[in-house]
Point group: C2
Chain length 390, copies 2
């Protein structure tokens, strides 16, 4: 009686169990996508909370509109090329993290049994939300330039009709890849031709420390829904994210959000707006984040190449939070390495967790975001003791 | 392409539009269930926010467990008769308002096309969540003692098998009625016999200023899921609620919550825990709330009986936030009175908004929670100018 289809579809809680295990202080976790605690701007958040409750207690504590706090919606619109549009905020829905945005838009745009295309491997949280919604998944291959849009085009040519194509175009989770400019143009053209929606889940785009960002998908086609979040640039515990979408899509999502949770916390929306919109704050904070993550990424990649270079290949990230390492032993199974790794005091996420159709047994996602350099060294030493030498 | 079945089912946004209209300052709104702004404990919340960010910034700002902040879960368990259970918090899921709890448990326990029984009239937010989930609704009559459990028993005897029976057993929204002790016993016995779950949505139980509360349903059968909220006893803008449920149900809801929004804001959970668990705070604040709402209820009922006693009957509430007034003109349609009422500067919610199968045209829900005495007088004067004399 207890488990409905929705619960069954949402699947196991293996990742949640893993993240709980890695909360043990003796384990160095490369598993989660948690910001480095030292980067959390606690003082700015405390000032914003105090100011919101002092200046606008009713706005922070009373029921608010389902669409979100209007100044935050305006700020988000401005960051997404809508600054000149007097009704730009009509494109914006504030959500309880971008996870909720994905869940709402899936339910708003895809009926159960409908089709969603996405890269294989794909973000675990997206897989959970999509599977819980009862949609079918079309797994598209991906490489260092992101989703293989040619392969998607072939599937479309055979008559497959996804309602959505989901991408993390900037610093993909788990693969770290960025969708190339050429593929963005091609993907946008396919969206216009076949009438599907592109969901560009973009929590990491601001965390680029090297190279130029390709043109955003939203500038290439109106059939783009961009998801953003305060989790990686401010603090995940606030649970504030957003969707920027065509107004008709935003309205459909709003209807579902009203029955899902009425609205996102008015207080945390005010905190996010007061910090992110404070002149100079975000630019300065992004410099801190990029510098921190670049240093940690270079440290992790360097240590992995030094101590495990004979056993894995490790790409050099230009941004984001993840390295998608590949074991050179083609018979390896990273899922079977996890228990010994945790026993040795280090955690990662095995490739299988991100599998849509394939298991990615030679892959492991390693996050350099959370741990400092000394902890990263310790983690690599422990990994080296667990991954068999060639 | 934009509107899925889920959006269609979730229905129109008439109530949201109404609540937006009533934000205009020249309108006295008896429409929403918003706490009187004067009762919001802004200082206590500001102190709690500052303390959380000072004492436990990581706990307030980093990702947290999907189940919720453990000290808050323990506190909720203690308020629900589980203080002596060393694992009492395992029964508790913290949610983004009790609205989310209802949505999650519906998806966890009822597949699309399954049956949910509830009183007609019923809470609008419940109707939206249930309809969005695609479940069928069995409308059960209700009277001044709440859901007519005999009528439910008759339906069960004919072979109908609801997966859930939804009640607001204390100070129902919209009817204001409290489910009698006898009916609680009978409902619990039916749950045990037929194996359905009782959802006892209880945001108003603490707002009782007269009489004794009947025994809680959770003490009568283990097949009870109790929903609670900080919205009415603290502040709705925090969006913190909870479900207290058998562990297997709590686990199924947790799986769906993970894909819905990962977890509820860690900061607002800490604020709610630090205020509600502070010795003496809640007891004192509930005295303030009960005194305020009792005075406002008596003021509204008195004014309605004085100025509209020839046109409506008005029950005297013992708690909660709502009066479910009945127009004496049996041909009246409260939905048609709304536009002239808003034009005259007063808003209410017409009975039709709460209809499951019936339209309740002679009914109107009037909230005395938000407005002070002078505004309530103004509202009644304006209503008297709109409701036709006999």
């Amino acid at each position: 009686m207890v488990k409905s289809l929705a619960v069954e579809r949402a699947g196991s809680s293996a990742i949640r169990d893993l993240l709980e295990i890695t909360e043990q202080p003796e384990i160095v976790s490369l598993a989660g996508g948690l910001p480095n605690p030292a980067t959390l701007p606690t003082d700015a958040i405390a000032r914003a909370a105090a100011a919101a409750l002092e200046d606008d207690p009713l706005g922070a504590l009373q029921y608010g509109p389902t669409e979100g706090y209007r100044p935050l919606r305006r700020w988000v619109a401005g960051r997404h090329g809508l600054a000149a549009d007097p009704h730009g905020e009509e494109h914006v829905l504030v959500t309880s993290g971008s996870q909720q945005a994905l869940e709402l838009l899936t339910r708003a745009l895809v009926d159960p049994g409908g089709l969603v295309a996405l890269a294989d491997p794909a973000y675990v949280g997206a897989l959970q939300a999509l599977r819980a919604a009862g949609v079918d998944l079309a797994a598209i291959p991906a490489d260092g330039d992101g989703l293989c849009v040619d392969a998607l085009a072939d599937r479309l040519a055979t008559g497959e009709r996804p309602a959505l194509v989901y991408v993390v175009a900037n610093f993909d989770n788990p693969s770290g890849s960025t969708l190339s400019a050429e593929r963005r143009v091609a993907l946008a053209a396919l969206a216009d031709r076949y009438g599907f929606w592109i969901v560009d889940d973009d929590p990491y785009g601001d965390l680029r420390w090297h190279g130029e960002a390709p043109v955003p998908l939203r500038e290439l086609t109106d059939r783009t829904i961009t998801l953003g979040s305060a989790s990686k640039v401010l603090a995940p515990g606030l649970r504030v994210g957003w969707a920027v979408a065509p107004v008709e899509v935003r309205r459909a999502m709003t209807t579902l959000k009203q029955s899902a949770d009425l609205h996102t916390s008015a207080l945390t929306q005010q905190i996010v707006h007061r910090t992110l919109a404070e002149p100079g704050f975000l630019e300065g904070h992004l410099v801190t984040l990029r510098t921190t993550y670049q240093a940690q990424a270079e440290h992790l990649v360097g240590a992995l190449r030094t101590k495990l270079g004979d056993r894995m290949t490790v790409p050099e990230p230009d941004g984001g939070m993840f390295v998608w390492a590949e074991l050179l032993d083609t018979t390896a199974d990273s899922a079977q390495l996890l228990d010994p790794a945790v026993a040795a005091g280090v955690a990662f996420v095995p490739g299988a967790a991100f599998g849509v159709e394939r298991l990615h047994p030679t892959r492991m996602r390693l996050s350099y975001a959370t741990a400092d350099a000394a902890s990263l060294d310790l983690a690599v030493d422990r990994l080296a003791g667990v991954i068999p030498a060639p």
